[in-house]
């Protein structure tokens, strides 16, 4: 049977009676206490996450800075490997042409400071490897220790398979003119 308007109004009235009877009912105080604990825990947890993120950012910044500084200090490797002992090229005496872009060593009549820079080089070609008009390039390569024998250097037999760093002075044609071991201790 479909209820009439008056019956619906009576229902609404009784619902209001129920609402009034329940009006004072609330969640017990322990709910509020638990929520405040959760809020406090979330805040401290968030602070801890911020601290971790900050520490991680600091570590990354340190690593990037260290890598950048190391890169600036290390001479640029222009070739991965050069011929260990290149065919001997004849060096014509005369002034050296200087390329302003690439690192160069002036060959003719080196001044005292340049002599320091050239100290320790072993000539691989007859005559003066630093002389001549042609441009020269200095590159750093890794050499097997066994290759040191060809330069007349002593090699520890137990470490013959290891590699050492060496600066190689290249002529314009790319052939090596002189070689210098970066660390003299490295071949002992």
């Amino acid at each position: 049977m479909k209820p009439g308007e008056s019956e619906i109004e009576a229902v609404v009235s009784r619902l209001r009676e129920l609402a009034a009877a329940d009006a004072t009912k609330q969640a017990p105080p322990r709910v509020e206490a638990g929520l405040l604990r959760a809020l406090s825990g979330r805040r401290s947890g968030r602070s801890l996450r911020y601290a971790w993120a900050l520490a991680a950012a600091a570590v990354v910044l340190f690593i990037v800075s260290a890598a950048w500084v190391a890169q600036r200090r290390t001479p640029k490797k222009e070739v991965a490997a050069a011929p260990l002992v290149a065919p001997v090229a004849r060096v014509e005496p005369g002034p050296v042409a200087v390329d302003p872009v690439k690192p160069r060593l002036k060959q003719a009549n080196p001044r005292p400071a340049e002599e320091d820079a050239l100290a320790g080089f072993i000539a691989l070609v007859p005559g003066n490897p630093f002389g001549g008009e042609e441009a020269s390039r200095l590159v750093r390569v890794k050499l097997p220790r066994s290759a040191l024998v060809s330069f007349g250097l002593p090699v520890n037999g137990e470490r013959v398979s290891e590699r050492v760093d060496a600066d190689v002075l290249l002529g314009e044609d790319g052939s090596p003119r002189a070689i210098r071991l970066v660390s003299t201790a490295s071949f002992r």
Partner: protein, 190 residues
């Protein structure tokens, strides 16, 4: 604390999200009653209502960005969260204990005949509401018992205002039939 009570729900939530416990307390005390009563009237279980109230406010603590002021009031948002949890619990556990005479009451005194009669009538309506299908029960609880606006009810339920109106009309008719069929409280107490 005094000046916090003047702030809107959204402002209080913003402060609470930043860790302001006093702001959260003001917000909680402002909204917890309707949320608790909604869950209680929907489920008939004070324990479940307590749990649902806690879960609804935990959402505000953990994911305050879920509340968008542009989409409706905070009360409607909380009703929506509470409704979701109530329905989930009701689906999971259908063996809820009906609300007893003492549930939620404080400081019992021996009722007079008039009080007893009124309380029996109230319980009769409560049982009738609890026996409604959930889709009708929720509109009665929201609109008639919690006095939520049709817009807030629609937002909480996730339907249109027209749907709320039609469901409410149908729910009241169902209630009228149930109360008509139920024994009169006056005759029972007599």
């Amino acid at each position: 604390m005094q000046e916090l009570t003047d702030l809107s729900d959204g402002q209080l939530l913003g402060r609470a999200s930043a860790g302001d416990q006093e702001a959260f307390t003001v917000l909680y005390r402002r909204c917890q009653g309707p949320v608790f009563r909604f869950a209680l009237r929907m489920s008939g279980s004070p324990a479940l209502a307590e749990e649902v109230t806690q879960e609804a406010f935990l959402v505000l603590i953990r994911n305050p960005e879920r509340f968008e002021a542009s989409r409706g009031s905070l009360a409607a948002f909380l009703f929506g969260v509470a409704r979701h949890h109530v329905l989930r619990h009701l689906e999971r556990d259908r063996r809820l204990v009906p609300l007893s005479e003492g549930d939620g009451g404080n400081g019992h005194v021996a009722p007079s005949d008039g009080d007893l009669d009124r309380r029996q009538r109230v319980e009769q309506v409560r049982r009738a509401v609890l026996s409604l299908p959930a889709r009708y029960r929720e509109v009665v609880v929201l609109c008639d018992l919690n006095e939520a606006s049709y817009e807030d009810a629609a937002q909480a339920i996730g339907c249109g205002v027209g749907t709320v109106r039609s469901r409410l009309h149908r729910a009241r008719a169902l209630l009228a039939g149930k109360l008509r069929a139920a024994p009169d409280a006056r005759r029972c107490s007599a």
